[in-house]
Symmetry: C2
Subunit: 154 residues, 2 copies
DNA sequence: TTGTTTTATATCGTGCGCGATAAAAATATT
DNA sequence: AATATTTTTATCGCGCACGATATAAAACAA
């Protein structure tokens, strides 16, 4: 058969896409209990580490554009998890900070990583195999996330 | 610091999510030239391997639900890439098949995997490192994609 | 200072993913 | 045969991701 390179089983991209969706789905029940989505959970992770950040700083840490981050934060404002205020030092910026509800949720979320680990074990996933993926993914992400996009298609 | 498990740098999930988005973004310029999206490309990969399949068979191979697959195929019908017809043997099914345009696109797409490989090389990604990910991802996907979802949250 | 460029934010439109729901056809059960 | 269950498809609503576009503020240049 010709075009072997086009077979699904040869696609790294499809594997990453599928693995990403599967693990996000695994988080879903735990996040649903908190009333948040996976992406909102990521924003909370960032803010729990450092409160009061500009919208775009949060986006950059998640490798998301402002066009994703801005409406995302807005939905989280409606949920009462965060709020924002202007920055006098730079009037373009909106500083996002956690509300008491957003801070409280950290304690409710503290067990989620452990729950996920347990669930993966239960599904038969060996943790040491998953740990092997981490440096490979980090290498890939670091190399692929350089800002300059190719402008030539060869 | 408490809650160390909640730090972004400890999250496998975030890495998979980011890596998936980055590689999909890398495909984008090549797919844009063909006028299709990444998910539509996946459907074409499936149909190029085996034409004339029920909607859900395509979805199952991509681990996508019928609620994703059905409108996806519909958009591809509008683009003139596929068409569908009822199955007399099972009147519930809609068999999806490639139009001449959809078949032709296989030749146009044949070079995409090679382009991606080149681009990753150019970005400094070592292919042998990426190959190491494949069995790990396959193991993860196979274990995590069992249909029965947990109904208990511990 | 004035003009240009860059940066930070926001909005709009489109295409996913997926939970929820519905309807029709096939299959299994009684 | 009649009923119940499962399977296949479809639709709706919502929240992303992201390209394109717009605006205001800051930084830079002439």
């Amino acid at each position: 058969m010709a075009y072997e390179q086009l077979e699904l089983r040869h696609q790294l991209c499809f594997r990453l896409y599928t693995a990403s969706r599967l693990i996000t789905q695994a988080y879903e029940p735990y996040l649903k209990a908190l009333g948040i989505t996976y992406t909102q959970y990521l924003v909370l992770l960032v803010l729990w580490e450092k409160d009061n950040q500009p919208v775009n700083d949060i986006g950059k840490k998640l490798l998301l554009g402002i066009n994703t981050t801005s409406p995302l934060i807005k939905r989280m404002e409606v949920l009462g998890l965060v709020a924002r205020h202007g920055n006098d030092a730079d009037k373009r910026q909106q500083l996002v900070y956690l509300t008491p509800k957003g801070k409280q949720m950290k304690e409710d979320a503290a067990n989620i990583p452990n729950c996920l680990a347990k669930q993966m074990l239960k599904s038969g996933v060996a943790p040491e195999e998953m740990f092997k993926m981490i440096p490979l993914l980090d290498e890939f992400i670091s190399k692929m996330s350089t800002k300059e996009k190719q402008d030539t298609i060869e």
